[in-house]
């Protein structure tokens, strides 16, 4: 009897947690063929926080994000955004895919890419007005790319391309930002620009979730961490969760002692 009651209370608590969370995932499993890339993952993102999704290569970080957004079809699992389905909340979600996922020789200019962020608003035939162009330019300005507006995207460096992608998500004026490896292979100037913008979003009350690979910057950049290696290892605030023990579990033997020592200064 008391066990049943406890379970009921637990369910009630979880329902509340899901309704409050800007991104809550329950029981998510995604597999390529017979091998699960993500297995039975529960995730509850805290509103107004910057969360890093961390784990070794092939741990299912990007897969989890894509499945949450419906880019991949999961085998099992539910996703809610503030208690509603992702489909209902599309307008509140902005996604920044990995830079390598597109063909940069595509015939399009920087400003055109940012304008794509407004296609949802514009619909099929809505006319592009000066206010739309102004919005796009303002977002390019926020990532320091306004001078590049009319360049063909293939002429940009990797870091600049990444900032254009970020600008495209900014123009959507969303509440939840999901970024897949935005710091991978970018120059220091870009990293500074991107983290500045993301912290600005967080300070404005938005929720930011980043697939991240650089353990040395986690403490500086993020509030929460989500450690994953196919299954969830741990989630919570950087101070309590980003610990040596949790990292060893996440990376198995793959994190060399030297890396651990270098990190020990920053660990929570």
């Amino acid at each position: 009897m008391s066990v049943e009651l406890a379970t009921l209370n637990g369910q009630q608590a979880d329902r509340t947690a899901r309704a409050d969370s800007p991104l809550a995932i329950r029981g998510m499993t995604v597999s390529y063929g017979q091998k699960p890339a993500v297995f039975s993952v529960d995730m509850t993102i805290r509103s107004g926080a910057m969360t890093a999704i961390i784990g070794p290569n092939g741990a299912g970080k990007s897969t989890l994000l894509k499945a949450a957004l419906g880019i991949l079809t999961p085998l099992a699992g539910t996703v809610t955004v503030l208690g509603k389905s992702v489909a209902q909340m599309r307008d509140h979600i902005a996604y920044v895919p990995q830079r390598a996922s597109v063909d940069w020789d595509f015939p399009t200019r920087v400003i055109d890419v940012v304008m794509m962020g407004l296609y949802g608003q514009l619909g099929l035939l809505g006319r592009v007005r000066q206010t739309h162009r102004d919005q796009a330019m303002a977002c390019l300005n926020r990532v320091g790319m306004a001078d590049f507006a009319t360049r063909q995207i293939g002429q940009l460096s990797g870091g600049q391309q990444q900032r254009v992608f970020l600008a495209r998500s900014l123009v959507q004026a969303a509440d939840l930002y999901l970024l897949d490896e935005p710091f991978a292979g970018v120059d220091a100037a870009t990293e500074t620009a991107i983290i500045g913008v993301l912290k600005g979003l967080r300070d404005a009350g938005k929720t930011v979730v980043v697939v991240h690979h650089d353990l040395s910057t986690v403490t500086d950049y993020f509030d929460d961490v989500f450690l994953i290696n196919t299954q969830v290892i741990a989630q919570g605030s950087v101070a309590t969760t980003f610990t040596q023990e949790n990292l060893q579990t996440t990376y198995g033997g793959r994190l060399a002692g030297a890396q651990m020592d270098a990190l020990s200064g920053t660990l929570g």
Binding site: K66, G70, R90, F106, P107, G120, L124, F148
Partner: protein, 401 residues
């Protein structure tokens, strides 16, 4: 006669066919652009070849029901159906099996075409006898087309063109960044389906005009031609539509004036001519301009390196460098720099030093990305910026103010 055709003076039917071919060319060029950008151009070849068994079977069915089997709309509907089945086969093979799309295309294309040829052979042996005209679907023949047929084709081509223009935003998004499109709630499967629907429509309308073997050229050559001229998606779409429309119009008009010439090959050859001109002479991406740009760049590099060597009193070994310096009057025959040479050399040194500062400073990023080792900084920076750079030049590292 050719002038009559060009100015639509060959009678009502020929005029309708010419307009239809022009609209078809525009629809194919505009729709083909997205196919090309999505890197799925060859799917259209499988679709086109897969129409043949449908056309043949439709003929047999119509004869069996007592018709004469030559109703164009009936034949085209048959073609559309078998092409649809072929399309399903390609997408099933490439998504549900481990076969790549190119292998699936090859398999479906050849099997359907082979089957279609067998059916045509059967028809030839039939008593219906009036099979004449079915071969016209292979290479296109517009001669002697009925007025109603021409109207149907022209209207369908116009509708297809309208559909592509209506869907241009989702099509652009899916072609450039399918993951982002999908994350923002657009179903890639449905956009691809729409794209294939457009291809199917272009193919079916084009069967009688260019023929199934050459449809693929109408979908691919115009966008590839347009790509040489611009870096913007909307401009590629517009130019591609113009190229396709022009080729369709000129091809159909020519074929109307010279009835023995099949329409399809003429249209394709005209679009190829436009492609060849673009390939050679397009201002940025053309072969000729690439070659000239490369050569002029090489010469400027040699000249610059020569000037820097002069400024630093280093010997010059390369013959081309020396020749360029001499021709520009910067050195004398014995290799001694002239006054002009000395001035240019000093300027080159100054420019190098300025560039080093600009490239090391994040706030000059937009200028720094244009670094090619040659460009004069004065052409890129404002006077104020230049002053700022020069101020830093006069304060070398480690020396206190």
């Amino acid at each position: 006669m050719i002038w009559d055709a060009l100015f639509l003076g060959l009678g009502y039917n020929a005029t309708l066919v010419t307009i239809g071919a022009m609209l078809l060319g525009m629809a194919a060029g505009v729709g083909g652009t997205f196919l090309f950008l999505r890197k799925r151009a060859l799917v259209s070849d499988a679709v086109a070849h897969a129409t043949l068994p449908g056309v043949g079977l439709a003929f047999i069915v119509m004869v069996a029901f007592g018709g004469d089997g030559r109703s164009l709309v009936g034949l085209l509907l048959g073609g559309a159906m078998s092409a649809g089945i072929g399309l399903l086969c390609v997408s099933w093979l490439s998504t549900r099996t481990r076969l790549a799309e190119d292998a699936a295309i090859g398999a479906v294309l050849s099997v359907f075409f082979g089957f279609g040829i067998v059916i045509l052979t059967v028809i030839q042996a039939m008593n219906a006898g009036r099979q004449a005209g079915l071969e016209g679907f292979l290479l296109g023949s517009t001669a002697g087309m009925l007025r109603t047929d021409a109207i149907v084709l022209a209207v369908s081509a116009a509708l297809t063109l309208g559909l592509v223009l209506l869907l241009r935003r989702p099509l652009t998004l899916a072609s450039f960044d399918p993951e982002y499109a999908s994350a923002s709630g657009r179903s890639i499967a449905r956009i691809d389906l729409a794209m294939m629907g457009i291809v199917l429509a272009v193919t079916v309308v084009g069967l009688k005009i260019v023929g199934l073997i050459l449809i693929v050229a109408l979908l691919i050559i115009p966008p590839v031609t347009a790509r040489f001229w611009t870096e913007r998606t909307d401009h590629v779409v517009a130019i591609s539509g113009l190229v396709g429309g022009f080729a369709g119009y000129l091809g159909a008009a020519t074929s109307a004036a010279v009835p023995d010439v099949p329409t399809g090959p003429i249209i394709v050859l005209i679009s190829f001519a436009l492609f060849a001109l673009s390939l050679l002479f397009a201002p940025q991406r053309g072969v000729l301009s690439s070659f000239l740009r490369h050569r002029s760049f090489q010469r400027r590099v040699h000249l610059r390196q020569g000037l820097l060597a002069l400024a630093q009193h280093q010997p010059i070994y390369e013959g081309l460098t020396m020749r360029l310096l001499k021709n520009a009057g910067l050195v004398l025959a014995d290799g001694v720099p002239t006054d002009a040479g000395k001035a240019r050399a000093a300027k080159a040194m100054l420019d190098e030093a300025r560039w080093t500062i600009v490239r090391g400073d994040q706030s000059y990023e937009a200028a720094a990305i244009l670094y090619d080792g040659l460009t004069d900084l004065e052409t890129l920076l404002t006077a104020d910026q230049l002053q700022d750079v020069d101020a830093r030049l006069s304060k070398p590292h480690g020396v206190g103010a």
